[in-house]
Subunit: 119 residues, 2 copies
Amino acid sequence: MAEKEGMCCDSEEIHEELLKIVNDTMPEETELYDLAELFKVFGDSTRIRILFVLFEAEVCVCDLAQALNMTQSAISHQLKILKQNKLVNSRREGKSVFYSLADDHVRTIIAQGREHIEE
Amino acid sequence: MAEKEGMCCDSEEIHEELLKIVNDTMPEETELYDLAELFKVFGDSTRIRILFVLFEAEVCVCDLAQALNMTQSAISHQLKILKQNKLVNSRREGKSVFYSLADDHVRTIIAQGREHIEE
DNA sequence: CAAACATATGAACAAATGCTCATATGTAAA
DNA sequence: TTTACATATGAGCATTTGTTCATATGTTTG
């Protein structure tokens, strides 16, 4: 067999097999990107805190800002990201907009995360 | 009752109740930070791809680099982050270092993420 | 309609992030 | 010990990200 560029670890069979398995089981490029994008949303403590508030109740923007002691603008920007990624829903009631959790995956994902860091 | 600074939405009782609930159920500052830190790790498609390879087998660094068509250095940097957050373990065998999944929370978290984006 | 309130949004800026490049460390073979 | 291979790591750089500030949009009330 001709030498292959980039071979390493002195193994040859394992590479082929590994590459085959990876090709078979690795999700599509776009799914990988979407997955990373989703977790990026959970990767900010402000958004995590917003979600913890929404675990308890449906809350309007200014209440969120007050509960988390942050600017209305900062909260609003983050809510937009949460909504774009379908983690929250919004409902207008008069001048206020109330936000709530979109589905239970959010709870599950965060619960698993907590389990992990508690070891 | 004296007017409170920062009141909003023309409600008063709800605020107090909300703030109480939030104080009771919101995790500690450090846990929130750690949680966000953990999800940040999942929030990069390179690291996600590494994890998908490790779902299938214990793999050494250069094989990972080859399978994902990336630099050894880039992979090594990301593996360090994965290891710091206890998502992977490593084991030295001669010149090579083999990486493997640390525990099943990783699988669960990613599985939940996939479910979410598939709606 | 105008004024007040609640929310959304664009620009700007500082901080964090991921890759590359060069090089250091660690291990095995000659 | 020297050489070669596998991995780790620090510095530098371009990109992304979260907040602030100013302002726009949307809604209710006077």
